[in-house]
Symmetry: none
Subunit: 415 residues, 2 copies
């Protein structure tokens, strides 16, 4: 087996779902960036036997086991003790560290609770890893042929310790690194996962470096290319022609790569033109505005939104003609277009997105799942009627994402 | 060992850190709500041997193993096959399901890629779990004394399948035939977990059937009462007096029980008075309106919202006086009160919630994390300034929840 790393997050709060395990994804992406194989992750609660068992099981498979959490001063912080038990060594007081701990508290003008000295107890033979952001040091400890690392669970402490101490050690342990792994995500929207799979089927078969994989989430299909080579540049060279072929075949379905978001792509397109943005929403009830305002720095471009949930607000605030509603129904393309025009005028924006629809459970004048979206730019207006399956929340969420992608396509001149 | 559940998330994208494992925290919190022991979670990539090994290792310890992900139609979807191998049974084509799959695609006027038929292959003896939100069915399969469940990795498909099929089965399995377990969640907002703990401290010590536990997530503290008895009615009888005591001590901090949501509680309070509702949002950008319109049937009460992200929209559409902004700054209690009054007038609503704040990363006229919320009802107006830690998304999310709870308290006359 080639060199591999496993990750164990320690903490009952993770099992109870009180916090999300972002350390696992953060460390996973760091390991992937470095081309290090990482096949398994585990979560265990604050229980000595189970932490010990998890360390031993991971150590039997992997060359390195990284633990996060359980390094604090309270009774349920058991990671140090579990490492000692797993490696069959004693816990010893590190007197130098005890002195530094006391100094840390004195500097802050507070008396140290004696229980905090627990943080200076370390498995015999362990090397402490400095923690500039907190009091709990990390640890490195040999357990047979496996190397254990322990880092704090608090992300602000974990991140610098991992980058400064753990990552350089991992590169050394991996033995000069005769393989680097590089991944590229190509993000698409507008086709099913199986259709994207069929479009790229022969590449999936013929290319084993890079390998291809498909990831689906929230209507988006991501194509992942993963290459291994002796250097990152060589891996990029392997990826480049396949990426070009994938992009060529998928065309305007591709909206970005790697960490790009559709919101950021939209703002980049708007800023090039100097256009401002607003929304007029009925069935989505503010969801499009909420997503667009989640982006830091959006206030140079996003101006506002009118959530016109009731018909008389569509007429009164967005200037939709009562006759248009009477003639076509409130869920109709003419109404969506008038909503977009009304939003552009009322909010003073260059670009407006408007939604009217029947999200259920009670039908409007059109069947449930009928959602009409309009995009108005200074260059023209586009309108589209969608017929969506699923319940209210799914229809609203899909419509929101769909509206953002239609906006993107309109700004790219691809509608 | 008592009854326990383990969770395995399947997906290379999780190991590579491309997505965060929110399914783990969601399922963890569902299990905690139900009082089911859950000691370990694992993540494995899309590799048959490793998925099989993870299923067997978890099955050797736990009574139930829940898997998520790997149920799609593409080649890297291996969960069905891994379950068959782990349980030593064959994969068989479910012809009924194959017919339904074809019908699903036909209804949508699209041709089904043949590869999708893979989703109709199931381990022999498996019971399919219906997936109303997608095409991949879930599975239930016996592996010796352990029961395996597989659910989709897409949260919108996982959530209803888990609640509709997996959770009822878990309650049956946990009861073991001769005991029924009933849990009651009492949902509170506005106090820390430690304060709720102090208020209920003696009950925690004195009551062992039902037992009490505290669960914290997203600012909400849940008190869980779990009783065991020979019948559900007998368990309910054990819970009733303790629940009454808990509710009495916690007073208006309690907003609901079990699956109640703050949104539903608000609509129930509004309908009693016959009052309509709208919002005026700056820093939350439509998030409050989006949450309020997520509730089916809200259109009898919710009328609309004005997202006034820019100052001139606050003045032009909400009628905030320029002098008020000049005197107090745009993030101020007088501005929030004028926004609420303006929304009530512009939207024609009885009750309005307004938000102005500084969510970061760039400060407005007040420090980042300063969020002002106003609630206006026909009986009076209330305004509150919050000083919140954390980044933009955390500040916006907490403010949204906080606004809903202040609205609830105002409607209950408890502000």
């Amino acid at each position: 087996m080639s060199f591999s790393v496993e990750f164990i997050a320690v903490g009952t709060e993770l099992l109870l779902g009180q916090i999300v395990n972002t350390n696992a994804s953060w460390i996973g992406s760091r390991l992937a960036d470095a081309g290090l194989a990482h096949y398994r992750q585990a979560v265990v609660g604050d229980n000595l036997d189970r932490v010990v068992e998890a360390i031993r099981a991971a150590g039997a498979r992997a060359d390195v086991v990284i633990l996060s959490g359980g390094l604090g001063p309270t009774r349920d912080d058991l990671t140090r003790e579990a490492m000692a038990v797993a490696a069959s060594v004693e816990l010893q007081r590190d007197e130098d560290y005890a002195v530094r701990l006391r100094a840390y508290w004195e500097q802050r003008g507070r008396e140290m609770p004696e229980s905090n000295l627990k943080q200076a107890d370390q498995p015999a033979g362990a090397i402490p890893l400095e923690n500039p952001k907190g009091t709990a040091p990390g640890l490195r400890l040999d357990m047979g042929d496996t190397v254990l690392f322990a880092v704090p669970g608090v992300p602000a402490e974990l991140h610098p310790m991992f980058d400064n101490y753990v990552m350089p050690a991992l590169r050394d342990l991996a033995g000069g690194g005769d393989a680097v792994m590089v991944s590229r995500l190509i993000r698409t929207w507008g086709e099913s996962e199986s259709m994207v799979g069929e479009i790229l089927d022969d590449l999936f078969d013929s290319s084993d470096n890079p390998t291809l994989a498909f990831l689906a989430s929230a209507g988006e299909i991501k194509v992942r290319l993963t290459a291994r080579a002796t250097t990152a540049a060589a891996a990029e060279d392997l990826i480049a022609p396949i990426e070009a072929e994938v992009r060529n075949r998928l065309g305007s379905r591709v909206f970005g790569s790697d960490g790009d978001t559709i919101e950021e792509v939209i703002y980049a397109l708007l800023r090039v033109r100097g256009w401002s943005l607003g929304t007029a929403e009925s069935a989505t009830g503010g969801m499009i505005a909420a997503r667009l305002t989640a982006v830091p720095g959006c206030s140079d471009t996003f101006r506002g939104s009118i959530v016109a949930y009731q018909e008389d607000i569509k007429v009164g605030m967005l200037g939709v003609a009562a006759a248009t509603i009477a003639d076509h129904g409130v869920v109709s393309e003419p109404v969506a277009l008038e909503m977009a025009a009304g939003a552009a005028s009322a909010l003073g924006v260059d670009v407006a997105v408007a939604i009217t629809g029947s999200a259920g459970p009670d039908p409007q004048d059109k069947p449930i799942g009928t959602m009409v979206l309009a995009v108005r730019t200074p260059e023209g207006s586009h309108v589209r009627t969608l017929h969506l399956p699923g319940d209210r929340e799914r229809v609203r969420t899909y419509t929101t994402t769909s509206a953002l992608h239609h906006l993107r396509l309109a700004l790219q001149g691809a509608l």
